[in-house]
C-alpha cells in the first residue's frame, strides 16, 4: 500500500493532535499515524506552561519565557506570543467540544491541588479544576470514594496543611460510599467518573455530596465529575448543591486527559483528518534532504505513506520517539543522533529530582522546528518535530509538558499548513 496525502503527522498525543488539527483547519489533507493512544489520555488534562525555571517557581510563565535559553522550544517558536495564540486556540477547540478551560483569576499560574495534597503551578485547567475559590473560604471537605486507592483525604489534608497559605484552613475528610457494587478490580477515579456520566451515577453523586455541601462551601473531589458531559455535570452539581467543587489532579488514568483527548479526537474526525491506529512508523525514505515516505510496520510487511511534509510528534523516552542504548541516544524514525555522553552514568544526576542530561535530551531544531545536523544546518527540509521528542527542555522539572506539546504542535501545524 502506498497512500499519498499533503501532510503526515506521526503521533496522537497533544502535540500530534494539535498539529494535525491545525493543518487540517488550514485546508490540508492530513493523515495521522499513531502507535498507541499517546500520553494525553493518561495525563492530568491541564496545560502546564511553565511553573519552574532552574528550580525556582515563576510568577508569570509568559514573562519568564523571555529569560529562557535560546534552544528552549518556547524560545525557538517565538516565545510568549506564539504560546498564547496556541492556548487561545485550544480553549476554543475545547469549548466547542464542551469543556471550558480557565485561566487563573490573576495573571500567572494556577496552583492546582493534587491527590498527593501537593500544589502544582499550571496555567490553564478545566473549570472544574480551578482552585481559586479556595482562597476565599476557611473550610473545605476533601472527598474520596470508598475503596479508591489513589485518593486518601488523610494524606491530602496532612500535606495541604504544610503549605503556609493553607495552614489555617479547616479541612474535613469525607468518604462517599462506593456506588459500584461487587467490583472485581480496585476502583479508580475514571471508573467513578464514567459512572457519574450515567443518570443514576449523577444522582448518586449529588445525594452523597449533599451532607458535606451543607457544612462546607468548597468540596475537593477526585476527578469524578463525568466524562463527555463533565462540564455540564460539574455546573449542575455546583448549582444544585450551592457549593464550589474543585477536582484534584490525579495520577494515571488522569480522567481529565481522557476527556480532552476525546474532544480533540472528535475534532480531528470532523476536520477530515485520516487517523490510522496501530501504525508504528519504523523508518523513512529520505532523498536529498527531503523525506519522501514514512514506513509503518504491519504483520505482512511495510506500508509506505507519502506526503509533501511530515510532522513528527512521537514523544520522548516514554513513548518511543527517543531510543536509548548504553551510551547512545537517537531519534527513532530518522536515527538522528542526540549527542548523548558515552558514559551512561553521566546522563543522570544521583538525585532523582536533580538536573539530568536525559531529561532535556531530544532533537535539535531551528525556529521552524526543522531538525539540525551536527553543523547546525537543516538536515530534513520538509520534516518538523513537535512535543517531547524535542530537546532543550525538561517537562517534568519545569512543569511545561502540555504547554510545549500544544505550542510546538500548533506551530508545526501552522507552518506546514502554510506551505
Amino acid at each position: 500500500m502506498n497512500r499519498k496525502t499533503d501532510i503526515v503527522v506521526v503521533g496522537s498525543g497533544l502535540a500530534g493532535m494539535s498539529a494535525a488539527l491545525t493543518a487540517a483547519q488550514s485546508g490540508k489533507k492530513v493523515t495521522l499515524l499513531t502507535h498507541g493512544a499517546g500520553t494525553l489520555a493518561i495525563s492530568s488534562g491541564c496545560i502546564d506552561v511553565l511553573g519552574y525555571l532552574n528550580g525556582v517557581r515563576v510568577a508569570d510563565p509568559f514573562e519568564s519565557m523571555a529569560t529562557l535559553p535560546a534552544e528552549h522550544p518556547y524560545s525557538l517558536i517565538g516565545g510568549a506570543e506564539t504560546v498564547r495564540e496556541a492556548i487561545d486556540w485550544l480553549k476554543s477547540v475545547c469549548r466547542k467540544g464542551g469543556i471550558d478551560m480557565a485561566h487563573a483569576a490573576e495573571e500567572g499560574n494556577h496552583t492546582l491541588i493534587t491527590v498527593m495534597g501537593t500544589l502544582k503551578p499550571s496555567y490553564l485547567c478545566p473549570d472544574s479544576f480551578n482552585p481559586d475559590c479556595l482562597k476565599d473560604v476557611h473550610r473545605a471537605a476533601v472527598v474520596t470514594v470508598e475503596n479508591m486507592k489513589d485518593v486518601h483525604p488523610g494524606l491530602i489534608i496532612d500535606q495541604l496543611h504544610r503549605y503556609a497559605e493553607l495552614s489555617d484552613k479547616e479541612f474535613m475528610e469525607a468518604v462517599l460510599p462506593c456506588p459500584i457494587e461487587h467490583a472485581h478490580r480496585n476502583i479508580t477515579p475514571l471508573d467513578i467518573a464514567r459512572h457519574v456520566e450515567t443518570p443514576e451515577g449523577m444522582k448518586w453523586l449529588e445525594k452523597s455530596l449533599m451532607p458535606y455541601a451543607k457544612l462546607y462551601p468548597v468540596l475537593l473531589l477526585p476527578p469524578i465529575c463525568g466524562m463527555k458531559h463533565s462540564q455540564q455535570i460539574w455546573n449542575q452539581l455546583c448549582s444544585a448543591l450551592k457549593v464550589k467543587i474543585i477536582e484534584m489532579v490525579s495520577i494515571p488514568p488522569g480522567v481529565a486527559g481522557l476527556r480532552m483527548r476525546d474532544v480533540l479526537k472528535k475534532a480531528l474526525n470532523a476536520a477530515g483528518v485520516y487517523m490510522v491506529e496501530s501504525a508504528e512508523v519504523v523508518r523513512a525514505e529520505v532523498e536529498e534532504g527531503r523525506c519522501k515516505t514514512v514506513h509503518t510496520l504491519t504483520a505482512s510487511g511495510e506500508d509506505a505513506w507519502e506526503a509533501d511534509s511530515f510532522i513528527i510528534a512521537t514523544g520522548g523516552l516514554l513513548s518511543g520517539g527517543i531510543s536509548t542504548a548504553p551510551g547512545k541516544a537517537w531519534e527513532s524514525i530518522f536515527q538522528l543522533s542526540l549527542d548523548a555522553p558515552a558514559d551512561t552514568e553521566a546522563w543522570s544526576s544521583p538525585d532523582i529530582f536533580g538536573s539530568s542530561f536525559f531529561a532535556s535530551m531530544g532533537v535539535k531544531v531551528n525556529h521552524e522546528l526543522k531538525p539540525l545536523n551536527g553543523e547546525g544546518n537543516v538536515c530534513l527540509d520538509n520534516v518538523r518535530f513537535a512535543g517531547r521528542v524535542l530537546g532543550g527542555y525538561d517537562f517534568a522539572a519545569e512543569k511545561s509538558g502540555n504547554g510545549v506539546a500544544l505550542a510546538t504542535g500548533r506551530y508545526a501545524g501552522m507552518l506546514a499548513g502554510k506551505e
Binding site: 493534587t114 501537593t118 486507592k149 488523610g154 523516552l317 544521583p350 532523582i352 517537562f395 509538558g401
Partner: protein, 536 residues
Amino acid sequence: MKHTTVVIIGGGATGIGILRDLSMRGVKAVLLEQGGIASGASSRFHGLLHSGGRYAVKDNEAARECIEENMILRRIGRECVEESEGFFVLSQQDDPAYEKPWVEACAKAGIKTEPVDVKEALRLEPNLDPGIKAVYRVPDSSVDGFRLVWHNAMSARRYGGEMLTHHEVFAIDQEGGKVKGVRARNLVTGEEVCISCDVVVNAAGSWAAKVVELVGLEVGVQPDRGTLVAFNHRFTSRVINRLHMSSDGDIFVPHGSITILGTTSFHADRPDAHEAPTEDVLKLLDIGEVLIPNLRSYRILRAFAGTRPLYVAKGSAAGRAASRGFHISDHSEEGLDGMFSIFGGKFTTYRLMAEKLCDLVCEKLGVHAECRTAVEPLIADPSPAMMEKAAKYFPVHSVPLVANRLGDAFPIVVEKAAAMKSNPLLCECEMVTRAEIEYVASDPSSHSMTDVRLRTRLGMGTCQGTYCSLRTIGALTECRVPFPLSPADNLRDFLQERWKGLRPALWGLQAREMELGRAVYAATLNIDGARDEQKN
C-alpha cells in the same frame, strides 16, 4: 540498663541465625542491627541456594557444606526456597577439559550430578544458547534471602529472642579483660541504649572489622563488591550456571516473577559500597549473553550491589580467589574474654555457621542444650483452610506468595483483610495488598516505606514504585502509622532508593519506565517543587 546473656551485632543471615539458635537452646539474647533486618549482603546477593557445584573443584570442603546445608534449608525453610533445580552448562567458550574433574569433584563432595541431553536441555530452557555443548542437572535452588532471614527472626521471636533494628553499636564495654556490655544508638529516635551481657557476638559481615575496632582489635575481613542485575521477568525455569571455574556474571537465578544475573567481584573500600556502576552492568550483560543470547532484549529492572565479607587470612588471596569458607575468632585469645567474631562463609551455610558459633558460646556459658535448628522448620505451613480463606481476599496469583512472605503473620493478615471493607492491591506489579502493607508497616521494626518494601516486595516490580508509593503513603497516613518522616519526605526517600537501582541501567525499556515515573511524581504531583514549599 537492659540485661541479657548474649548480644549479637548484625541482623543478617548469620546474626539472626545465631539469635534463633541461641534462643532455641534457651540462651537469652538480644540482636542489634544498624539498619533493617537483612539490609546488607543477605538481601544483596543472587539468591542462589548453592548445590556446592560451584566450589566443588576449588574447595571441596565448602562444596560439601553447601550440599548438606542446601538439603537442610529445603526442609526447614520451604517457604523461602523455590525447589527449581539447576543446570551447569558448558558453553561454546568454556574449556571442555574442566568437565571431567568437575563431575568427579561433585561426586566426592556428595553432589548429585546428572548429564542432560543438550536437546532436552534446550527444550526445558528454550532461552539458552543453542550452541551449548554439555549440560548437567544439580540440586541448586533459588532462595529468598530476605525472607529466610525474616523467617529465622520470627522463629527466634517465638523462643524469646529479641531484635532491635536501626540500632548502631558505638561502644563495647569491658572490664578486666572481659566484655561487660554494649552501648548502641537508636538511629531513628537518637536515644541511647545500654545492654549488659556476658558474651558479645560480632556477626556484622562486611562491617565486622569496624565492630572489632571498637575494642581496638583487627580481623581479616575484606568487603568485596558484587553487582547484580534484576530482570523484569522470569526467563529461565531453573538456576543456570556456567560449567567453568567460577567467575563473574555466570549465574542466572529465577525468583518468582524476576531473574537475577550475577555477580561481579571487585575490591570495595567500604562495607556499604551498594552502588552498582554501569560498567559492572555492561560487563554482566556481555558475559550473560554467552548463555542467554537474547539477554539484551530483556528489560533490566534495576542493578544493585552487595559486599561479601570475605575472610582473608594474612598473606592469602583476595577477591574471587579468596576462600568462601567461614572463620570464627574467639577474641579471648587476644585478651578479650566473651567476645566472638564470625565472618566469611556463604549465605547457603549461614545455619551451619550459626551452629558452630553457638556451640562455642554455649560451651563458654556452660549450656549443654543441643542445636535443633536443622530439624525444626522455621515456620509452620499455613493450613489449607487458611489458604482457601485467603483466596477470598487476595488476588489469586498472590495467595501462595503472600503466605510464603508472611510466614507466622499470614493468618493475622488474612483475618485483617477479612475484617476490612476491601483489600485493594496497592502494588499491582508484585501483588501486595493493603492489609499486608498495613500489618508490616505497624511492625516495630518498620520505620519507613523502604522497610515495608523489603518485607513485602512493594515497589519492586515493573513500575518500580510509580503507582504503589502514592497509594501506600496515602493508606499509611490514613491509618496513622507513625513514621518519623513526613509523608512527602518518605515518598521522596522511597523513590530515591528506587532511583539508585535504576540509574546504572537507564536505557531502553527501563528509561521509558523512569520517564513515566518522572511524569507522575514531578510533572503531575510536583513532589520535587513541593520540597521547598512545604513544611516537612
